[in-house]
Symmetry: D2
Subunit: 247 residues, 4 copies
């Protein structure tokens, strides 16, 4: 039984996490803190792993406190750039036994899609990405699709594979999508969609399609629990859920 | 048993048509002419319905000859604009019993997709079109997708439906596809694809998807045979296969 | 402005309906009754169209009361067999100006899918149905898929079309799905699915796919509003939303 | 430049292989043998890698001859069971520098699909397989789908994951597909399909879909060329293309 503490338990994601911990046989919810609660309740409650779903402003305090107390941390809060990650690495240097997992995306399907797309990309002549979201989304392409396309492009460059062929001569502006490092990305915005991503890989006579449909934030929970169970055995900083997935 | 003559029987489509007529129990292949053969063989062979898959240069002669002889005609040859259609109508005025069917697309699935998309379009908040082809294709979007999008746009205008919502603020150029009369069209080019079209229609909480995959020109044959069987009972000019489909 | 009353306003569907009426510019929520409230509040509030999402036990009283008062009714409550429909028809005979719409499914996409499947079915050599739901569903195939398959089968019989070809010789039990009036139906149960239906229609060289994804009961609202707006102009009983959709 | 010999060059697959070797800059077609031609032409032509697409009867002679001459072999011929593989291993023991690659499926997309399905399977609550083929196919499920399902089942057993949940109580016979080691497999047979496989993996709120569409045997060529280029550096027996794919 792992003793778990949730920081940001009153938020939407935090509340979902609390319910998931409660439902897991091998995890015990020892503490559930709102974003303003005193962090030393974690120590008092015997927490072994803390989960932070707060805000970019609050998360660094959680990390500093927990690492100092020898409490492992799983972080779902966003806003980590290289400078912030370096700060966390510095904190961990003085506490070599502590593990921290920081993941921008806890949906296992999304993480696996990106890994599979990167692994398959060098073996196909063509690769394109289609992402589909509700029409209230502000950015196009989505951040996930940008990241997927860049990851595909890097894998192909690394393997010395040529760009996807494209004989388009007469084109209506925009028809062929956005060019992300040489990979075409199409952003569909249709009411009824939530968040969906599709990678199409093609060779003569065959197509491999990888698709992820994300319908609800409860899809993050299996990934959060996986990280909670794994973090104790991974001292130091782990960025991204992928490193925790077996092959 | 209908006596059928094929003009352009040595071409790729013509050859396919000859095989299909041979395989149909209710049709008899009375004449198979190459593009340069004398058309009066049709009369001599007792042809009731002629099928023309030749070239924009040759097809008008076939039409003039057949209409004059009282032979019905099914035309798969491309290149008919309004001026040409008017020419055919004028020919038919003097032979009111003769039927002519001119169809730009004999794939039943493609014709039905377009009809269904047009009928469904007014009932959904959002509509977008994705078309997928092999990367040797020169134009983007495809002619079929352009036609589908325009048909959807007209149906929505007619019903007084607003444009599909789109909150996109930050966009990488091209990400949201081409704007065809207010309908977004995305052109995917991946090796392994042949010719595919998808229409996505969305309301809060639901998506209706219409998709057509065209893999081989043999897909035109059921539509050609349908026209051959129907043309005798439809005096005058019929443009498009849709008018022949029951509801 | 149409004056609308909701019966069963405290239920899940009823609550959703109340919100939708509130959001519509041309409809006014004049009364919102819980399942046990006195129906004569409808009359007092000047309701022109009542919407009933209650239970098979309660709905007949709503119908009797409203028809007697000259109030049109839109019914989303389930449980109507032919005997019950006859009862409603008898009530309406004495009040020929009143309209009643009873619909088993208000999702426009689902209704259109069924119509399109039925219309397309005679033109294709093969037709099969795949339905996908969450794994807590008790019945397989789903009622909607059963209804779709039967409707396809009837359309093909009516058009004199042969059964879909199937050369299967060596089969693991169940692999080819359930046989519903000669149409194969496959029931997929995967966590993360909500309610999805796909109809595959195939000819040599082409496939037409019709798919409906239903993610949330809010998808019923456009259909409910459509019925509320149309019922006043349709005296007598209308069963199913399809009759209200223009062609 | 690798000197390549094709055995079975007059067959359908062999002919396709010949064309692919001709088109590759780094491979030279030194010999193209029909199934009855004398194998010592391979030696005479300086062949370094032989490709065998013959028949279960002929392939063992090719292997014996080539291994004896120090020629590497890529085998696409079917019919290898464990006894036959042991025979090949025995031949190779005496010629430790020779490499043999025997692959049941050279479509890279199919091989990657199976690998990804196996790797993802332990992370999802539900997994099901849908395979779609033309209706002239004799067996259901397809061999590939059987293999995929068994591979998924083994991966889940190995990881200690429970069976996919299924609350089905009322079922029409066959609706839930075939049970392959606890994984449900659905076999769709629709005219217009060629060979398609889809693996659906689901968790609460998310679905990961892996799909492979195989339209033409030319899809095997990239895999054959990959094996030809790799076999010289892999002494001994390699079964399956997967071992040749980098991660």
């Amino acid at each position: 039984m792992i003793e778990v503490g949730v920081v940001g338990a009153a938020g939407r994601m935090g509340g979902e996490v609390v319910r998931s911990i409660d439902a897991a046989d091998d995890l015990h919810l020892a503490a559930a803190l709102d974003i303003d609660d005193a962090l030393d309740q974690l120590e008092a409650a015997g927490v072994e792993v803390a989960i932070d779903f707060t805000s970019p402003d609050a998360v660094m305090s959680t990390l500093r406190y927990c690492i100092g107390q020898g409490i492992h941390v799983v972080v779902g809060t966003t806003g980590f750039d290289e400078a912030r990650l370096d700060e966390v690495r510095a904190m961990l240097e003085e506490h070599p036994g502590v593990g921290v997992v920081i993941a921008p995306n806890f949906a296992l399907g999304a993480v696996l899609l990106m890994r599979f797309a990167r692994e398959a990309a060098p073996y196909f002549e063509s690769v394109e990405v289609i992402e589909m979201h509700h029409p209230d989304k502000l950015d196009a392409p989505s951040g996930t699709a940008m990241h997927t396309a860049e990851s595909i492009a890097a894998a192909r460059r690394h393997a010395g594979v040529a760009s996807s062929p494209d004989a388009t001569g007469r084109m209506l502006e925009g028809a062929r999508g956005a060019d992300v490092s040489g990979v075409r990305v199409h952003s569909v915005r249709v009411r009824g969609h939530v968040a969906h991503e599709e990678v199409l890989l093609g060779n003569p006579g065959e197509i491999l399609t990888l698709r992820h449909d994300s319908l609800d934030r409860e899809s993050f929970m299996p990934g959060v629990l996986l990280a909670v169970r794994a973090v104790g055995a991974r001292p130091g900083l782990t960025v991204g859920l992928e490193a925790l997935l077996a092959r």
